[in-house]
Amino acid sequence: MLPPLAKKHSKLIAFIVTVLGLGVIPTFNQSPFYLDLIIMMIVYAVMSMTFLILLRTGLISLGLAVFWGIGAYASTMLVMKLGLSFWIGLPAGALASGLFAFLIGPLLIKNAGITFLLLNAVLGLLFVVVIGNISYLGGYTGINNIPAPDPINLPLLPTIEFVSKIPFYYLALFLLVVVAVLITAFNACWVGRAWTAIGLKPRLAETVGISVYRYRLLSFVFASAIGGLMGSFYAHYQGFIQPSTFNMWITNYFQLFAILGGVEHVIAGPLVGAAIMRFFPELIRYSPEVGNIITGTLLILLIIFLPRGVLSLFDKNRQFLEGVTFIRTWAKSLFKSGDKVDTS
């Protein structure tokens, strides 16, 4: 078995191994196709993490893409209209998203639950049509030729030029690490404990003196700022943006990645879910006409047999083999009537 220290920090070790593993990929595979796949996987995974940050406080959001889009548009506008550097646009995108969330949050969070969900959905629907009607922001056709980030000089390294996909790859990996550290830091301190308490029982949390409204607003602003950060990166990586990218379906996909991986694992869950959903269609790309059918079937089967996500197979209190027998009991119940099945 593992030594106790390794067991205690198993999540940290797994994360470091994953990041290092992703970090060495460009040394032996430089095909732009695979690098693009992994970069977008990281962007999507980080966006799903923002969904989990909100879910932790009991808020189910259908408007994640809005804050993604605001970051993208804010950063693009700063770089293209004001001529600022990307390295100012990146934090400015996060700031713009966070500020917007801070301004609109009091309206949305006042009544949590279904109200928050619906108002977010309306926000998501509004975003596309509002941006589409503003010709200054490019309308429905969007903005083309967004410049790549400026070259940067780091000590001990040659000048990094953003011409190929490899610098973007490392930038995405760097952002992933930053976001993961931020989320872990928030979750480890008193803020995270308050968030968990609110997610479990909001009224009880209110009784013991946690300001539900303030902590929910904090989590909303934090999640939105991360969304803005990734939006800025996405805009400058793709080189073009259009409002229909930030529609409701992409929000739906972000939720899907998170739930597929397992909502209890804030960082690993979205990564695993996004990896499955990004790479599985590639495995079956030889039959593109039935690809979506297989992906959809896989989703349905996964949610029926592993309702708590793929990572629930590796839970501490359930060994891997037990997980397999769990699947077998589920499979047996498939042929019985729809009784209430105990999932705990």
């Binding site: 009991g58 808020l59 189910i60 309206l107 009544n111 949590a112 639950g113 279904i114 109200t115 969900l117 619906l118 108002l119 959905a121 309306v122 926000l123 998501g124 629907l125 509004l126 049509v129 509002v130 589409g132 009607n133 909001p202 009224r203 409701m248 379906w249 739906n252 996909y253 939720q255 899907l256 739930i259 597929l260 909502v263 006409e289 039935v290 690809g291 979506n292 059918i293 992906t295 959809g296 079937t297 896989l298 989703l299 349905i300 996964l302 949610i303 029926i304 309702p307 708590r308 119940s333 498939l334 009537s337 729809g338 009784d339 209430k340 099945v341 999932t343």
Partner: protein, 292 residues
């Protein structure tokens, strides 16, 4: 006057299609208490099955429409039996059904493209021709849409208010556990609800096929708008769906003419304002999705 009358007439036709779509969504949302994203695909399937039965099998239009509705009903009931029944009774069912219906949406969407092809289609008008009343050009096809919409809505209200299954649906929408205690077969009612809901989507698709034309992406494009409309009227109120559909049809018809593309901004903005002040919708009791 004649112009406004024309706009009103066009808005009424498209509004009654929205009423049918919203009613099915309301049934599924209130009774099964889930958000069913794959709903839009059943709209597409209804439209394309009608097209297949009319254009390929050469059945009369109304017989083809009936068959298409039956196919939609069977597909919806199968969805419940094969998929939703497994997760309908678990604890985190809101998120689980969201994922399952997304998967179903992918399967049905891609399957529809495989079976029906990727090109937009149309059915030749059943009742060509038009007549003029007070300067309004009344196309007989759109009049047919309106009449069928009214008949189907009335039938649905009768079904929901008067029949045993309708009473069971209302009881389950109110309190599922207590309804089950009183001897209502919850499993069966859930199945019928999903079937009736998807059949309504199918009939909406079949009804618009001769007048407006059909294309394979129409279900996906409209599903979030339908959801927003049902929320305004009340996620569990058929009367709300009726009001929401009719009003949105009029707003779209008049707004498209007078203010152009901005109409969607105004529409969603007004929906947001209404939801902010009446989170449960204008006429509904609101959904319980298990979070507070």
């Amino acid at each position: 006057m004649a112009l406004n009358g024309q706009l009103f007439f066009n808005g009424l036709a498209i509004g009654l299609v929205y009423v049918m779509l919203c009613s099915g969504m309301v049934l599924i949302q209130s009774v099964n208490n889930i958000i069913f994203i794959a709903y839009g695909q059943f709209y597409t399937i209804g439209a394309f099955m009608t097209w297949v039965f009319v254009q390929k099998v050469h059945l009369p239009y109304f017989v083809g429409l009936l068959f298409a509705v039956v196919v939609s009903f069977i597909l919806g009931a199968l969805t419940y039996l094969l998929i939703l029944r497994r997760i309908q009774f678990t604890q985190g069912k809101f998120l689980a059904t969201l994922i399952a219906s997304t998967g179903l949406m992918l399967v049905l969407g891609q399957g529809g493209l495989l079976v029906f092809g990727t090109t937009p289609q149309s059915i030749p008008p059943i009742f060509p021709g038009m007549f003029e009343v007070l300067g309004v050009h009344v196309q007989v096809d759109k009049l047919t849409v309106i009449i069928m919409g009214i008949i189907i809505t009335l039938a649905l209200f009768w079904f929901y208010e008067r029949t045993r299954i309708g009473i069971g649906m209302r009881a389950i929408a109110f309190k599922p556990e207590i309804a089950s205690l009183f001897g209502i077969n919850v499993d069966m009612v859930f199945m019928v609800t999903l079937g009736v809901g998807t059949a309504l989507a199918g009939v909406a698709g079949g009804v618009i096929a001769p007048t407006y034309g059909i294309d394979p992406m129409m279900g996906q494009n409209v599903v979030w708008t339908i959801m927003a409309m049902t929320m305004v009227g009340g996620a569990d109120s058929l009367l709300g769906a009726l009001a929401g559909g009719v009003i949105v049809g009029q707003v779209l018809s008049f707004g498209q003419y007078y203010i152009g593309g901005l109409v969607q901004v105004v529409l969603f903005g007004v929906i947001g304002v209404i939801l902010y002040f009446r989170p449960k919708g204008l006429l509904g009791r609101g959904l319980d999705i298990g979070v507070e």
